[in-house]
């Protein structure tokens, strides 16, 4: 979180994290498409020639001034492939909230578990207390056959108390609900932080 008193802006960073091909980039593309053009920045994608996320996808959107501050949200995805773990950790620097995008297909459970373990390890290595970082679980690909029940997926990932949303990112179902929830969590936490800061 970044509050710039001179520009009267509050900057917040949200990262979409998860295994490869789980729907992180699709989620961001949908968010970009649905954000009012006068409030959104360009969607930046650093991709490989195979159209896979190489470094990150990024977009920013802002809101109207609230209580004298203009909120700006910086939304990132990370590359999901195992060998890009270093990159994922770098994108997590300064994160305010995380959307964990799980692939609901039964056959992808091990990748989901590996990714959530990586996430918690990365957060710890970056100096966060993982259980204090606002997090939601977005169970994606709910339109496909052979998917896990949401409760079973949550339990397998050890995310029992985490707000959970079912989604079909390619057509956007559930994506904005998840985003709104994480923003609400982040803002609630920011409020606590501001109150607890010395004057």
């Amino acid at each position: 979180m970044f509050i710039n008193w001179k520009l009267r802006e509050i900057n917040l960073k949200i990262v979409y994290y998860g295994p490869s091909l789980s729907g992180k980039t699709s989620s961001l593309q949908y968010i970009h498409q649905r954000t009012r053009p006068d409030r959104r920045g360009e969607l930046i994608s650093l991709k490989t020639r195979e159209d896979r996320t190489l470094y990150f996808d990024y977009m920013q959107f802002e809101m109207g001034e609230i209580s004298g501050l203009k909120p700006r949200f910086n939304i990132y995805t990370v590359p999901g492939q195992v060998y890009y773990r270093g990159t994922r950790k770098l994108v997590l620097k300064g994160v305010d909230g995380i959307v964990f995008v799980a692939d609901s297909q039964i056959r992808r459970l091990n990748e989901n578990i590996a990714a959530i373990n990586d996430l918690f390890e990365d957060l710890e290595e970056l100096g966060f207390k993982p259980d204090e970082v606002p997090l939601i679980l977005q169970c994606n690909k709910r339109d496909l056959p052979e998917i896990m029940p949401v409760l079973a997926l949550k339990e397998s990932l050890g995310l029992n108390g985490v707000p959970t949303f079912e989604s079909v990112a390619v057509d956007g179902a559930g994506v904005l609900d998840g985003l709104k929830n994480i923003i609400s969590q982040v803002v609630t936490k920011a409020r606590g932080k501001i109150y607890s800061s010395p004057a």
């Binding site: 979180m1 970044f2 509050i3 710039n4 008193w5 001179k6 520009l7 900057n11 960073k13 968010i31 649905r34 954000t35 009012r36 409030r39 920045g41 360009e42 930046i44 650093l46 470094y55 990150f56 990024y58 920013q60 959107f61 809101m63 109207g64 609230i66 209580s67 004298g68 501050l69 909120p71 700006r72 910086n74 990132y76 270093g86 990159t87 770098l90 994108v91 620097k93 300064g94 994160v95 305010d96 970056l126 100096g127 966060f128 904005l176 709104k180 923003i183 609400s184 803002v187 609630t188 920011a190 409020r191 932080k193 501001i194 109150y195 800061s197 010395p198 004057a199």
Partner: protein, 162 residues
């Protein structure tokens, strides 16, 4: 840095002054100071709306990747710098103590030596200023967190189209 950063106006004025001096001496096009996570702190010069945020995000990625590359060859200098030479415009990036990034965009006919010289001087001046950042915190008197949270809910609905 993970716990958030509140930037008081007085510090921003000092930063703006340093960046303005750099812009004048090195004949730069535009300058962005960002934090290591890619958030914009200050801008000098004219840029299109939204461009500084993108520049800062990409520069943060670049600096992070370069730091990792440096580590792989046994270098761990937290003040590393590098630049990209373009046909008409070039970019100089300077990592300030692993916490901030100075991004200088200049016309390619401007000698890189000139930019490097004044950028390094600016970094020396910025270092003590940036060190103060995390020590000085506090909301402005008219900041109303409860209203802010309620306002966000309303604004969220206005931000996304049907």
């Amino acid at each position: 840095m993970n716990q958030g950063l509140h930037i008081p106006e007085e510090l921003l004025d000092r930063i703006d002054h340093i960046l303005a001096h750099l812009a004048e001496k090195a004949h730069t096009d535009s300058i962005v100071l960002a934090d290591i996570s890619g958030q914009v702190i200050s801008i000098q010069g004219v840029m299109d709306e939204g461009t500084p945020a993108v520049v800062a995000a990409l520069a943060a990625g670049d600096v992070a990747a370069m730091s990792e590359l440096s580590n792989r060859i046994g270098e761990s200098d937290p003040h590393g710098s590098f630049f990209h030479e373009g046909e008409t415009k070039s970019i100089y990036l300077h990592n300030i103590a692993g916490s901030f990034i100075l991004i200088v965009i200049f016309r390619s006919e401007t000698p890189i030596g000139l930019v490097r010289l004044f950028a390094k001087r600016a970094v020396e001046q910025l270092l003590p200023v940036t060190e103060e950042f995390e020590e000085i915190v506090g909301p402005p008197a008219d900041y109303a967190p409860d209203d802010f949270r309620k306002g966000i809910t309303q604004e969220l609905d206005d931000t996304f189209t049907e």
